[in-house]
Amino acid sequence: MANIKCTNIRKSYGSVTVIEDLNLDIPDHEFVVFLGPSGCGKSTMLRMIAGLEEISGGTVEIGERDVTRLPPGARGVAMVFQSYALYPHMSVYDNIAFGLRRQKVAETEIAARVKQVSGLLGLEQLLERKPRNLSGGQQQRVAMARAMIKTPKLFLFDEPLSNLDAKLREKLRTEIRRIHLDLKTTTIFVTHDQLEAMTIADRIVLMKAGAIEQQGTPSEIFDRPATRFVADFIGSPAMNFRDCTVANRGEVVELSSGSLHLEVPAADFEPLADGTIVEVGLRPSKMDVAGDGAHNAITGRVVLVENMGSEGQVVVDVDGRDMSLVTKAFRSLSSGSPVTFAIDADSIHLFSKRTGRSLRKAA
């Protein structure tokens, strides 16, 4: 168990700097997800903490100990790789036991701990097999058992679920989460899948181009995106964006674009001059079908309805451009029919056209 402290981390390959001056604190027991598009530096960051990638500048501390120059084996961390990286020439048992055998732990204790860990992950029947005779999900479990048995201070997961099919991914996600609740080992989990991040994380660190764009709990990231990038990256279907003109009306700010007229409380946002163009973000899941007189109503024509079972995604034509919303009341809608829907003022996001930063005042 340990907290992690990364200070002024820099990573460059020759003259190319991919991460610059990154600072990050992870408290003990926390389950943190590094999220971001490919090439954002999340895996590099993880590999630097693991010790597999050299750190060009700054320090990494694990449990108050500076590990910046330590080899991976001396850091007290265990890692699960995307390709599982099982040792193909060893049985499942040997794969799991290897780390302990190397530490010269007594064979009887190894047997007991392998039994315990394999029981936890449902691997008892597979211990004599070779990795090539296992399914992807089983291989993933062996990789987790191999990491867990060493009772590390820190678990690292590098996109561990991306090679699995959707159903298995969901199952293992829950399993990883449950194991974390049991063991409470500090965990860093890298993924590019925002849904995976939302469901599994205590805290999300969203990265873009080698820098942290925003960090916070999944709800903070979802409900209070700090930048347009975060707002766009999180959530499916993606957020709707419209450029709107600002008009101050005392207590409220009016935002308009074509037939679209929205009102937000002026106190919630930074002062905006009349006539400023801002980008308004509307999350599809925060909008719902409403009556004509509703506050912040938007009217359009249904383009298509996608049935997702309990909910439906509705694409609506508003002033010639698509806007999507997610509603339970999708069954009464059909393409071509007019529809009115509304959004709560608290769920309207405003972003600066120039910087992309949210214009909402910090709570």
């Binding site: 084996g73 040792y87 020439h89």
Partner: protein
């Protein structure tokens, strides 16, 4: 019906190809057991009284016995040392950053560009000065150039195919680079390395030119075999065939041994 015909046809073709490939070998083995008058006949003889005379001639002939001994020592040592130096070198090369790797690999390959004739004559002079002309040590040293470079060149891809993440997982468990090499990369790459070693072995086992120029008296088997063919007008076909059989046996035994070794190394089950 059509399937039956095509199957019969493909099998016949396969049998024919097999016959073409194996007939010379079978003929050689047969002839090794024939007397000369059974070999030199207008009509090939399949039924004859077998004799071990040819093998006796070979094995009792001191020059052939010595040649066999020299070959086993020279080729064995040069392949073994070549592997000992070349395989770890290949592992290092496979893990180097791309640019340096390309250049060093090219240098290694360039050692193989040189025609043996070009190095044979300077080597004679150097070896005479060093006093190792016509010795097994001299031959081993010159063969090492071949074995080390061939082993490196063929082993680098074998190590490149070892998933990097497996080596990293081992590093996460605290293994040093040496341990990673011995306990993970080497066993995982072993089946491909096997091919590299066999190829290298056969390459030097059959080498004639350098052996002829640098160790004429302490000749290896190819040198001796070459001298038999030029003994005179009456070519001792039976003896040559027997010599061929003996020449082929050690590589086969070597391949068999290596194969067994690798099977053990990658065998299932623990302990």
């Amino acid at each position: 019906m059509g399937r039956l015909i095509s199957r019969t046809l493909s099998r016949t073709l396969l049998a024919l190809l097999l016959l073409v490939a194996l007939a010379p070998i079978l003929w050689t083995i047969l002839s090794a057991f024939k007397k000369l008058r059974d070999i030199v006949t207008p009509v090939p003889k399949f039924v004859f009284t077998p004799t071990l005379e040819n093998f006796a001639t070979i094995l009792l002939n001191p020059s052939i016995r010595d040649g066999l001994y020299n070959s086993v020592v020279v080729v064995g040592v040069s392949v073994f040392v070549g592997a000992l130096l070349g395989v770890p070198a290949a592992f290092g090369l496979a893990r180097l950053p791309a640019r340096a790797k390309g250049e060093m690999q090219f240098f290694v390959l360039s050692l193989r560009f040189m025609p043996p004739v070009a190095i044979a004559i300077p080597f004679i002079v150097i070896y005479l000065d060093l006093g190792i002309y016509d010795t097994l040590l001299g031959l081993i040293l010159v063969y090492l150039v071949t074995t080390v470079s061939t082993v490196i060149w063929l082993s680098v891809p074998a190590f490149e195919r070892v998933p990097r993440e497996i080596e990293e997982a081992a590093a996460m468990e605290g293994c040093s680079l040496g341990e990673i090499f011995l306990r993970f990369s080497l066993p995982i790459a072993a089946p491909s390395l096997f091919g590299a070693l066999v190829f290298t072995f056969v390459l030097v086992w059959n080498e004639l030119l350098l052996a002829l120029t640098l160790a004429a008296e302490n000749g290896t088997l190819p040198v001796v075999a070459a001298s038999i063919t030029s003994l005179g007008k009456e070519v001792p076909w039976g003896v040559i065939n027997a010599a061929t059989v003996i020449l082929v046996l050690p590589p086969l035994v070597f391949i068999g041994l290596l194969m067994g070794f690798i099977n053990r190394m990658v065998a299932p089950g623990r302990k």
